[in-house]
Structure formats: C-alpha cells, structure tokens
C-alpha cells in the first residue's frame, strides 16, 4: 500500500494534534498523558539523534574514511583515522565507572581544545567587538552612514554607555568594612550599581518579553495548527 502525501499529512496532523493536546494537558497538572507525550518525544528524539549521529557523523567521518584508507592502503589515512577512533573509544569508556579513567584522556583533549576555542572566540568575537561597539556608539559618522541622526546616535550612545557602565558597576562587589563592622561598597559604586540595576531590570524585562513573545507565538502556532487540522478535517467532511 502506498501512502499518499495527503494521508501522510493527515496522519502527521493527527499525531501532532494528539500530542499537542497531551502537552496542553499539563495545564491541568502533571498527568500521564503529558508524561506519555514527553516520553514519546524523548524516545523519538533519541532515536533520531542516534540515527543522525551514526549516519551523519560516524559513518561519513570515521567509517568511510577508514574503509577508504584500508582499501587504498594508505597508512597515513589509517593513522589519521585511528586518532578519532581511539578518542571515540576512550570517550565510550565513560559509560563504565571502572573504565571512566581511560576516557578522561579524550575528555581532557575535548575540554582543552574547547576551552581554547571558546576563550579565543569570546575574546575576539565578543569582548573586543562589544567594547569597540560601545565606544563606537558615539561615532556620529558611522551613525550618519547608517542613517542615524545625531540626537538618536548620541542618545543611543549615551544609553548604551551609561547602561554598560552602570551594569558593570552593579557587578562590582568590592566592599570595605565599616566602623560598625558592616560591609558596604563605595558610595559611588553604590549609586552606579543602583543605575545598573535599572538597566539590568530593563534588559531582563526585554528578555522576559522575548520569552513571552516566543512562547506566545508557539502557542499561537499550535492553536493555529489545531484549528487548521480541525478545519481541514471539517473541510474534508463538510
């Protein structure tokens, strides 16, 4: 039997509808329907991830090159392929508590390389550009080039500058002991920190709004899909 695309769409629409309802059932509280839906998602996702890892990682990046090297008889290729193979085997040792120590070599390699890459990327891709961006906020020429007016540019620059300084001041936790034994930050730092807390609040509000907007959009999409499914069902029957 050949399944038509419409049937497949209907089937997938039904599954999507049902699972959407199951997830929505969480509004009523933690229930088995919700858990069933979650478990199915986890299982399907794990299976799919395993298939992706096998077919898109191990086979094309380890097995195929190794077989190719064996077929070709290239010791260099085989040597090069032995490194990731050995690393993979060592990482698999983490599955066993007794052999976990052997996997630490590969993990050390990953951590070391990852830390280096992250630090270098953060330094070059985030810290320096962000500092330069904050500084360049008052670059009127750049603002003009980008079509930003002077007032807006300056205003944005001031907000960005003040917001950055005040936010950084908020995260300055250095303090000195007082005569009464209490610890307090410097007065200027306290004032700046208070202003930074305002900017942080605003940023968190923006994040919250973004989260809410994202969730709301997802909800709308799900409700819309349900409506569309139902509408499609009703349209087919009606």
């Amino acid at each position: 039997m050949v399944i038509s695309p419409d049937q497949i769409n209907l089937l997938t629409g039904v599954i999507g509808f049902l699972f959407t309802l199951l997830i929505f059932s969480y509004v009523l509280g933690d229930n088995p329907l919700f858990r069933v839906a979650v478990y199915i998602f986890i299982g399907v996702s794990s299976g799919y991830i395993a298939a992706v890892a096998w077919w898109q990682v191990i086979m094309p990046r380890l097995v195929y090159p190794l077989m190719s090297a064996i077929v070709s008889g290239s010791m260099i290729e085989m040597g090069l392929m032995a490194v990731p193979l050995l690393g993979a085997l060592l990482i698999l040792m983490n599955a066993s508590p007794r052999l976990m120590g052997m996997g630490r070599v590969a993990m050390a390699f990953l951590v070391g390389v990852g830390a280096a890459v992250t630090i270098a990327g953060a330094l070059i891709g985030t810290l320096i550009p962000q500092i330069m961006g904050t500084i360049n906020a008052f670059d009127l020429n750049a603002a003009t080039t980008r079509g930003i007016g002077f007032v807006e540019a300056v205003s944005n620059g001031v907000i960005i500058l003040v917001g950055t300084v005040l936010t950084l001041a908020y995260f300055h936790f250095g303090a000195r002991p007082k005569a009464d034994g209490s610890m307090h930050r410097l007065g200027l730092i306290e004032v700046l920190a208070w202003g930074g807390r305002v900017f942080i609040g605003i940023a968190l509000g923006a994040v919250f709004a973004g989260v809410y907007a994202a969730a709301l959009t997802a909800l709308i999409e799900r409700i819309s899909s349900l409506i569309n499914f139902i509408t499609s069902l009703l349209g087919n029957f009606l």
């Binding site: 898109q56 270098a120 990327g121 070059i124 904050t134 973004g210 994202a214 709301l216 819309s224 409506i227």
Partner: protein
C-alpha cells in the same frame, strides 16, 4: 586441715595460703622472698658452705677493724722484739699464733668494749693465750720439746695471745717452762699448733682441722653439742660460720704465727667473769698453803693440782721459773699455778674434781711428759714409755669404761703422791725439759693415759684427736658414754646437744700414737691446717687473715671474692634456723608460685610476684568517688561551654519565603483565557490589529542584506533551533527566505549544529517554502549535522569542505540518510571556504548558538566579516543578540513574529503567517500585559488593604 598463720598485727588466725590478713589486711606473707637457699634448713652436723666474703671487711665496725689492725701491729712489733731478743732464739710454740681464740686477748687489750663481744665462758674454755707465754725467757727448747719442731716456734707470738686466765697457769717459757704444763690452756694453745700433741693426748691421731671449729661452732650456734671428732672429722670445714669477733681473732692469730715467742710479762687483767670458785682458788693459790688454795675447787681439780705439783717436782724447768700470777690470770688458774708452785698447798676451796686432779698430777710429775704435747706430733714430743704413764691413766686405760669420778679419784691420789706437780702436764702444756731437738715418740701408753681425760674436758676441748680416734677412722669409741658423775656445770656443755649421734667418749683411744698425726697438730706453716682452723670464721676474715699472715697487707678485693648474687654468705648460712625435724608450715603464696626471679631488681627473690596476670589479693578494692570536684564558677563555665557546643550543632531554621505559586484555578483560568482568546482569534482569522509599521535598523539591514544577495549566490544558512520553536522561527524566517528566493534565487546551503536541524531544514523547505520548489542538491543543499559544537563551528569556519564533506540526499523518505559529497554538488561547486558565500544567515532560537557562530566565524583565519551576516532568531534571544548588531558584528537581526511581520510587510504580505498570528499575538501580548498589570495592581490593592486593616487593627 589447712595451716594457719597468725597475723602479726591483729593476732587473728588466717589460712596459710593467704597473703593478707582477712581481718586487718595486714600482709601475712613477706613481700620479698627468701634468699636462695635461705629457707633450706640446716641440719645438725651440716656445715655452711664456705663463701668468699673478704670484700665485706670494709663494712666492719670501726672498733673491729681497729682491733684487727692493732692486733696485726702488735704481732709485728712482737715479732721484731722476738727477733732482737738473743736469749730467746726459740720462742714458745708458735702454735699460739695460730690459736683461734688468741684474738680475744688482743681485742681485750685494744678496747675493753670488745670484750663484751667475747663471751667469757668461751674465753675461759678456749683458753685465750696468756701473756706469760710471751716471756722471752721461756726456753725454746722446752717448747720445742713439747710442742714440736724448733722451726715451728721460731715465730714470735704477741703477749696478747695468751688468755688472761691462762697466764697464771702458763709460766714464762724462759723461767719456768715446766709450769706451763700445769696450765690448762696449754692444750688449748697447742690446738693451734697441730703438730704438737698435747701432753695428755694419748691419741696420736691427727685431729681434723675443723674439729676445733666444730665445737666452737656448735657453741656459737647454741647447739651446745660438743661433737666428737668422729662426727665431724670427715666433713669439710669452712670458716664461713665464724663470727666477726672470731675472725678478728683469726687475724691476730695469723699475725702471731709470725711472732711465736711467748711472754709471761704481759698478763692481761683478770676477767671479771671468772667464777667465784675460781677466784677463790686464785686466792688460795696466792696463799702459800696449797691446801687452802683449792678448798673450793672441785675434787678432780684438786687432784689435778696434786698431780701438777708432782710433775713440777720432776720437771725442774717447769717448777722453778713460774712468775707470779698475773692479775689478769683467772683466779682459779692462778690458784692452780700457785698450787704448782707449792704442791703441798692444795687449795681446799678448789672443787673436788680439781683437787682430785691435783693428786695424780703431782704424782705424775715425773711422768708429765705423758701429758705434754709432742712438739713434732711424732715421737719427739712423747718420749715417755709405758712406764711413764700415770697410774690414773693406766687405770683408765685398763678400764676405759670407768666413770669420770673414778679416774678423778685416781688423779687425786696420784697427785698426792707427786706433789711437785701442781698441775697435770696435760694442763700445763709445758714442754718437758728435754733440750733435744727431737723428742722420742710418745709411747702408746701415754696415749692411753690421755684417754683418762674427763669427758667434760674433752667436750669443752676441741674435738681433736686427743680424745678421739685417729682421723679417718671414725670408729665408735669404746665406752663413749659420758659419765653421769660429771659435775652439772660441765654437763651443761654436753647437755646442749645430748643427741649427738657419734659422740666419742673421752679417752677412747684405740690406735697407737704414732699411727696417726698428733692431736692439736697445727701446722702454722701449713696452709691447709691453718685454713682448716679458721673454717669457722667468716670467709672474708679468713682470707684477710691469710693475706695478713703473709704480707700483713689486706688482700685486695677482687671479683673472685665477691659473693654471687643471691648467695648467702656462709656466716648467714650459719644463722639459718636449724631443721629440728619438724617442718614448719610453709606459707605459700596465693598463686603457689615459688619461682625464683631471674631478672630485674627482684633477681634471686622467690615468690614476689604472682605468676598469673591480674592475680591480685582478695582484698576488696577501695571505692573512689568519681564526682568531679569543681566550684560553682567552673560548673557555670562548663555549662556555658556546653550550651555553645549545642548551639553549634543545633540546626538553624532558614528563613524561607513563601513561594508564589499559581493556584490551580488561576492557572486554569489563565489557560482558559489564553486558549479561548487565541483560539477565537485564530479561528476567526481576525485582523484587528494592524501590522507593525516602520522597520527597525536591524530588520532594515537584514532586508537590505536579502536584497543585496547576488542572484543564485550560495547562501549559508545555519538552522540551530529546537523543533518546539518552529512556529516562531518559521514565522520570522519564512518572509525573509521567501523574499530572498523570490528575488535572488540563492543556493541555500543548510547546516546545523543541532541533530534535528537537518530534518527542520527539510521541513522548512518542504513546508513554508514548498511553493518555491527548491530541490536538494540543486537549489539547496542540506549538509546535515555539524558535530563538535564550537570546535565544529571553528573547524567549519576554517575548512568547511573537510568538516562537512557530505550532504543529505534529498528524498521523500525522511529516514533516508544517504550521504553524498556536498562540495561537488551544484550548490557548492567550486567553493572551498565560507568567504565564498554571498550571505551568512543564522536561524536560531538560542542566543548562545548565535554567539558561537558569530565568535568563531569572526576569529577564523578567513573571517567572514565581509559577508553579510544576518541572524533570524527567536524573540527570546533577540535581547542578547542585539548588542552584536549594535556592535556591527552582524548586519541584520530578525527576531520573532515581530520581525517576520515586518518582513511580510516588505514582502507583499507573503506568506501571511505573521498576519494570521498577529492578532492573536497582539491579543496575547495585551492579555499578558493586562494580566501582569492587573495582577500587580491587584497585589497592590491587597497589600494596601492589609496594611489598612492592620492600621485599623492598631
């Protein structure tokens, strides 16, 4: 029945096995054990073991050491005087020097206190050397004849060697050598000279060297047994049991051996302990009448006086030169001396026994040689024949078993016949007037005469061979039973040990004189005999005495002389209790362990420590209070400390804040509102709310980038978002991609750092963009999953060909994971780096993913800064990604439904998804704002109400 021990404290009876008294807890058992061998009983007749105790001389009392030193000095002086005296070439018998008791006299001269240590009775009995024997006038010939060889008497003898009570008896050798025969102490002195038999010694047997010590030892040990020689002759004799005072005398004797000449001048003062009857005798002897002299004397003594008188008559030397009795001489002996001078004046005060002795002595004056000692111990000292034997001795010889009284009678009768002799020759010990060098051996008859000596005298005398059988014979004497007729005071000596098993009767001589060494043979030059004489002395004294006799220098203390640890000195052994036959109950220790300690400070002790560990006396342990003695202040401080410690360990409740929980009704209400409103809006497809107007810079720039992409240029698109965000992402991305595809028909190259990215790409292409009919491998290429996170991104940024060589084959089958080389496909054909892409679009719902891509592509060796970089993100990630846009690290940012709506407006409203969602989105946002605002206001109102209520309540 168990043995009972009486407690020395409370007197209660306790079992012998108890260590402590059960009534008073006093110790019953000695804390320390006995010395090794100390608890071994000393059986009668057993002699202590000789030990070397010379090193103990240092611990002697000062008086004793002074006495010893003075004695040695005196002996040295006398030796010098004797050597300077030409008239006395041959001094009286040197045997005095070896006299065991001669030291008593020197002690008496040195210190009067020392006389207290010398029992007078012992002094009287042993016959301390009278000083008269030191007389320079004494004929050495006489002495030589009596006592031995001439060489034996060549050594000078100090005057102190002569007992005081014998001075009267012993005349000066130069004046009246014959008088000495009447001296009772002669035979005592001769006992030290073992080579010279006493005159009355009819037995030629050699006296055992230790016989004298035996009887002294027996007296000293209160055994009171005058053992005959036969009982002790074969036993080894040691000087370990000799008391200190005897050892002192021994030293003096050793010194006297070198100074044998006798002197009658130095007569010691008369002892105060002289019996009255003897003093009376002395008074009588002082009187010219001999009859008055011995009125109180025993009959036998009077008989002896008579015999002595007779002998003195026959011996001109002995009768002529008798000096006046010294005041030191015992009275009774002085009396005897006087009687010798005047035979007719037999003292009526003398005891009967003494008077009885006078008569036979006098009668035997001519035959006194029979009682005189043989100087050589051989025939020289006994020249007399059988005819010289006194009658009384003959009578005894003929009737050995006769009673003492009989022979005393005989003696008295003989003395009456020979008044010239005051004392019997055996008492005088005066050598016969034979100037010869050699004296004919004594006749056996003389030995037989010696058997007539009273048993009491034999008992008092050393167990020499004069009364005994020859040495080594150990034969039972015939008629050895002591006479019952003996006076009580004499029997007292014998009754001390009445059970002497082998007591030899007096005068039981069975062997001829020449068949055995003479009695009282004292070889002053013989170390063996000399040592045997001092076996009763302490060892240390004997050793010192030997050394003093040779060198007059105390022998050095060597390790050899040291007593072995745990060994008893001989003199201590002598003090051991005598085993009386009835074993005393031995109180054993509680554990019954009598093991001798072999190590430590308790070495040599026995039964000190219990053998069982934990074994302790049965006494109940004391109860000690465990209550701590602390003041109130200390207790308060302790309580405070305890409280502090408890406070540290006590859990402190953490101040918790009430968690703001949504009530189920509220949650249901809100859910209902949202679902109802949104469903209504969506279902109604209302367009109440207008689309956003105006383009923000980031969206404008993104639009500009889309519009600036060259036609059919490869555009690298990164799909890094979760499937749950598909609605939002697609609503934001579809308008942009739709416009881009419509305008530029780019080749889209999809890659994802999420596992689900590849399938989302397919869904994105086949879903919202399905109208464009993009074909995989032609218009677009799905490189699939890029593993490695940041490292993978970095690697891909550096060398995308190597990092992502394969692409997913476009297929209707979702599970078709067939890989095809990507970089040979048309979308990527001829491309080797990221810089060759026309645009770089990141579609992500996570700010972190956008940051990684931004950072790693910026830090890559071939930066893509020249490539338009647009980020399409979820609304939740926009706040974080916005700074990158502000910093111009990215060229555009489209976030959420709002960004999609903007693009739709610029894309002619296509695909219209944003529009469909916009009312719902707008209502939802308003609802959220309303709920948040309404909720805040409600909380404020509730707070104000509560505060107002609280204020009213106050």
């Amino acid at each position: 029945m168990a043995n009972v021990i009486k407690c020395p404290v409370c007197g209660e009876n306790n079992l012998s096995d108890q260590e402590f008294c059960q009534y008073c807890q006093a110790r019953l058992q000695p804390l320390t054990g006995n010395l090794k061998g100390a608890d071994a009983p000393l059986t009668p007749g057993e002699l202590p073991t000789k030990k070397s105790t010379a090193d103990l001389e240092a611990v002697l009392p000062q008086w004793l050491r002074d006495a010893r030193s003075s004695a040695r000095e005196a002996s040295d002086e006398e030796a010098i005087q004797a050597a300077q005296a030409p008239q006395v070439p041959q001094t009286p018998p040197a045997s005095f020097g070896a006299d065991l008791l001669a030291g008593l006299h020197s002690q008496g001269q040195a210190e009067d206190d020392e006389e207290e240590y010398t029992p007078d009775w012992l002094t009287d009995i042993t016959g301390e050397k009278p000083k008269t024997k030191k007389s320079q006038t004494e004929s050495s010939e006489v002495r030589w004849v009596e006592l031995g060889d001439k060489k034996d008497f060549a050594q000078p003898e100090p005057a102190s060697d002569t007992p005081s009570w014998l001075t009267g008896i012993t005349p000066p050798a130069a004046q009246q050598p014959a008088e000495e025969k009447n001296d009772l102490t002669d035979w005592f002195r001769d006992t030290s000279d073992s080579q010279k038999p006493i005159s009355f010694d009819s037995s030629p047997s050699t006296p055992p060297a230790g016989e004298m010590q035996d009887w002294l030892h027996s007296m000293g040990a209160d055994e009171g047994s005058f053992n005959d020689s036969g009982s002790t002759a074969d036993e080894p004799l040691t000087s370990s049991d000799t008391p200190d005072w005897l050892r002192a005398m021994d030293a003096e004797n050793a010194a006297k051996n070198a100074a044998p000449p006798l002197s009658s001048s130095g007569v010691p003062p008369a002892s105060s302990d002289t019996p009255d009857w003897l003093r009376a005798m002395t008074a009588e002897n002082d009187a010219p009448s001999p009859s008055a002299a011995s009125s109180d004397a025993p009959d036998w003594l009077r008989a002896m006086d008579a015999e002595n008188a007779a002998q003195n008559a026959t011996l001109p030397l002995s009768s002529s030169g008798i000096p006046p009795a010294s005041s030191d001489t015992p009275d009774w002996l002085n009396a005897m001396t006087a009687e010798n001078d005047a035979p007719s004046a037999a003292s009526e005060d003398a005891p009967d026994w003494l008077r009885t002795m006078d008569a036979p002595e006098k009668s035997q004056s001519a035959d006194s040689v029979s009682f005189s000692e043989t100087a050589s111990g051989e025939s020289d000292a006994l020249p007399s024949s059988a005819g010289d034997t006194p009658d009384w001795l003959k009578g005894i010889e003929s009737n050995a078993s006769s009673s003492d009284q009989d022979w005393l009678k005989g003696l008295q009768s003989e003395k009456s016949e020979e008044p010239a002799q005051d004392l019997p020759s055996w008492l005088s010990a005066t050598p016969p007037p034979a100037p010869k060098q050699e004296v004919p051996p004594p006749a056996p008859e003389q030995d037989a005469d010696a058997l007539d000596i009273p048993s009491w005298l034999k008992a008092a005398a050393p167990q020499s061979s004069i009364f005994d059988e020859p040495d080594g014979e150990q034969q039972e004497p015939a008629g050895a039973a002591p006479s019952s007729d003996t006076n009580d005071w004499l029997n007292a000596f014998k009754s001390v040990e009445p059970e002497t098993p082998q007591s030899v009767p007096a005068f039981s001589m069975e062997q001829p004189l020449d068949s055995a060494p003479p009695a009282f043979v004292d070889d002053a030059q013989s170390s063996a005999n000399g040592e045997s004489l001092f076996t009763e002395m302490p060892d240390w004294l004997s050793i010192v005495d030997d050394s003093a006799s040779r060198e007059s220098i105390p022998a050095p203390i060597t390790n050899v002389d040291a007593i072995a640890p745990g060994d008893l000195p001989s003199w201590v052994q002598a003090m051991r209790p005598v085993d009386a036959g009835t074993p005393q109950p031995v109180s054993t220790s509680l554990s019954g362990d009598r093991a001798v300690e072999s190590r430590g400070a308790l070495v040599g002790l026995q039964g000190v420590l219990p053998a069982v560990q934990g074994f302790a006396p049965t006494s109940k342990p004391k109860a000690y209070s465990i209550k701590m003695q602390a003041s109130e202040e200390q207790l308060a401080h302790a309580a405070l400390l305890e409280q502090i410690l408890e406070a540290e360990t006590a859990p402190v409740p953490i101040g918790s804040f009430s968690v703001l929980r949504t009530s189920r009704g509220l949650r249901w209400l809100l859910a209902f509102l949202f679902f109802a409103i949104l469903t209504t809006v969506l279902s109604m497809q209302t367009q109440i709310f207008s689309m956003p107007v105006g383009l923000p810079l980031e969206v404008s720039d993104a639009l500009q980038v889309v519009q600036s992409i060259p036609e059919g240029a490869p555009v690298l698109v990164v799909f890094d978002y979760e499937p749950a965000r598909t609605g939002e992402i697609e609503s934001a991305a579809v308008p942009m991609f739709d416009q881009m595809i419509l305008l530029r028909h780019p080749h889209l190259i999809f890659i994802s750092t999420h596992e689900t990215g590849a399938i989302l790409v397919e869904r994105f292409i086949s879903g919202p963009l399905a109208g464009h009919n993009y074909q995989s491998g032609v218009e677009y290429l799905n490189l699939g999953y890029l593993p490695g996170g940041q490292m993978g991104v970095r690697a891909f940024a550096q060398d995308p060909v190597v990092t992502a060589p394969y692409a997913l084959a476009q297929s209707s089958n979702l599970l078709n994971f067939a890989l095809t080389p990507a970089w040979n496909l048309p979308p990527l054909q001829g491309m080797t780096s990221l810089s060759q892409f026309a645009a770089f679009i990141i579609v992500t719902d996570n700010a972190e993913s956008a940051r990684v891509w931004i950072e790693q592509t910026t830090a890559a060796p071939n930066p893509i800064s020249e490539i338009p970089f647009v980020v399409i993100s979820s609304a939740q990630a926009a706040p974080v990604i916005q700074p990158y846009y502000a910093a111009q690290q990215i060229n555009g940012l489209v976030s959420g439904l709002y960004g999609g709506a903007l693009f739709e407006q610029n894309n002619a409203g296509r695909p219209g998804t944003a529009r469909n969602y916009w009312d719902a989105y707008s209502i939802g946002m308003l609802l959220a704002m309303a709920l948040i605002l309404g909720g805040g206001l409600l909380n404020l109102a509730l707070g104000l109400r509560d505060r107002a209520a609280a204020r009213e309540a106050k």
